[in-house]
Symmetry: C2
Subunit: 360 residues, 2 copies
């Protein structure tokens, strides 16, 4: 094969995903099984009898999400697409068959057109085999509606929190209906915004996904480098953090329409949901995420200012998650997610988990 | 204050460390206490009566090391210097007084001239207060001897493994002498090599620490961007990984001389130790570390090839650690550490730990 020169630790771009998944299998053989044709990752003890199985998936390049969250207390399976490319329905269908323990499957789907469409097709295929399947769409990015790859809001940081919380509830015996309701609620309670300092290089392109000046940053960026709210001159940590945090806190009520499966009507129906804005007195989980290339030290700086802004606005941070969990390859930047909590959400956030990238 | 423009999530460079430590305190108030004058971080329940206290420290910019490893089963205290700058003796001295539970203190010191000198002074100060203190130097980087900031080998990845293993042993009741012996052994059994694809920006400088071409990489680099073995054209993942892994496996016996405290003679003495090269049949913990900016997906690619090279050479990988644990700010690149294990080392590697950055 020809030598491809780019500043990444890879061999030929065609083999990147396969080789990385081989490494993951070798490293975490005690927790997961990686399947290669098609690609999907299952927890070691799948299928777990009587437990609703949680599946997520999406383009690769956002690691550790989703494969790193497969294991006890989080996902039963993850379906990695090629980098920044939706996985295919056959991956999701094979995963569903592999992990269904008789109590059905909940697909957690980030709101990107390809992901939504393919998870629908996969649900139909699995249903034809007698597997109960529900799809819940995550769309928490307050920065933009109708972006490059999305109708409506994009699904970003809340997805990680959903996977932990619903994973805990599934482990505790929630049935598919109750788990779907919890998943919907967490999505409605969660809001995120991201920003980037640098671009990233996908192996297939070998050059930066977008250009950004040495003194510029992009506010409201998506996890594939999709344009955000604005491109502007670099600002201070305090200014950036305040802008993002206030963008989340002041985000108005949002009404979404998504297709969900109606078990009564035996068909896909359009479901409308409205999430209420944050209010003084809310308690939240605060998730400060690295886009990949930003070190955790800088995230602590963000967390420090974010906490101050929350306090000033009557929002109490009761739990946190800080680190690179939903990334865009080596992009520098960060995102903030605030998730309003109640007792049910906190209980399952605090529940044990044992996965390659998250342990409690 | 004047506005400083650089592509980092920071306010004024003078406040970076303070603000990040404030964020850390807020985020992990259940696990640690951050002290601000001078800076040091202690585990929440320090001092633990009857347990030897483990202290480490070094320049900041390598997060999560060391502050992220403070907590049950790892460090009792960490002393963060300014970025890429040794902490001062008074930080280490105050930390020793705060965490000594009557069984003495073991200082784990990476082999950089400033760190070694300051930890010696701190040990003398603590000893004058009646605290038993030993210093063990970590020097595991096989790439270069006598680098920019070091006489002899630099201390790198093995430090993380030492902190976990000795932390487990301290928790299990090892006295200072036994713990010092284990620490020495882990250092003798561990070897590392690093490489960089990009430079990094320290807030104090505001510009890249060193220049590196768009098609170049540096093999054998240090965690402060110190020059390595060679600057060369970008190679494939397989070539880079093979070169680093073989560099570690084929590294010959190394003889070090360090000062340690003799409790018999009541003075610092020079101790000579020789570590033996790896041999066919050795079992190892393999640690694939991101320098900060390299995403975990690429580390899995490195792990995959590294495992193959180890197998070919009769080295069996029995445990692993993969992620950004000892970093150089946002530098892209990775390091590999192989640590020969025996039953004692494995037992404490597998022991529980509860810290901001490492949980088991």
């Amino acid at each position: 094969m020809e030598r491809i020169i780019m500043k990444k630790l890879i061999n030929h771009p065609d083999n990147v995903l396969k080789e990385q998944l081989q490494g993951m299998q070798l490293a975490h053989a005690d927790l997961i099984n990686v399947h290669f044709d098609p690609y999907y990752i299952t927890r070691k003890d799948a299928p777990v009898k009587g437990k609703v199985a949680l599946i997520s998936g999406g383009g690769s390049g956002h690691e550790p999400m989703h494969g790193g969250f497969v294991g006890k207390g989080m996902l039963d399976a993850a379906c990695p697409g090629e980098i920044f490319t939706s996985p295919t329905p056959d991956q999701m269908y094979e995963a569903a068959k592999a992990v269904d323990g008789g109590a059905g499957v909940l697909n957690i789907v980030k709101n990107y057109t390809g992901d939504v469409m393919n998870f629908e097709m996969a649900a139909d295929l699995a249903r034809a085999d007698g597997i109960k399947v529900q799809n819940i769409i995550i769309d928490d990015d307050v920065a933009v509606k109708d972006s490059l790859y999305t109708a409506g809001r994009r699904g970003v940081g809340t997805t990680v929190l959903v996977e932990k919380i619903c994973g805990g509830a599934a482990e505790a015996g929630y049935d598919l209906e109750k788990l779907s309701a919890l998943c919907r609620k967490v999505n409605q309670y969660g809001r995120s915004m991201g920003m980037a300092l640098t671009s990233c290089i996908t192996p297939a392109n070998g050059s930066p996904s977008f250009e950004i000046g040495d003194d510029e940053m992009e506010i409201g960026i998506g996890i594939h480098g999709e344009p955000g709210i604005k491109r502007e001159k670099m600002k201070s940590l305090d200014e950036i953090t305040e802008e993002m945090t206030m963008g989340i806190i002041e985000d108005p009520a949002y009404t979404r329409k998504h297709k969900e499966w109606s078990f009564e009507k035996d068909e896909w129906i359009e479901v409308e949901q409205t999430d209420e804005p944050f209010q003084k007195g809310d308690s939240v989980i605060a998730f400060v995420n690295s886009m990949g290339g930003t070190p955790v030290s800088e995230l602590y700086g963000v967390y420090n200012k974010m906490n101050e802004v929350c306090e000033k606005n009557g929002i109490k941070v009761v739990r946190n998650l800080i680190g690179p969990y939903i990334t865009s390859l080596e992009m520098q930047g960060c995102s903030i997610t605030l998730l309003k909590v109640d007792d049910e959400i906190l209980k399952f956030w605090d529940a044990p988990a044992l996965t390659p990238a998250f342990r409690r």
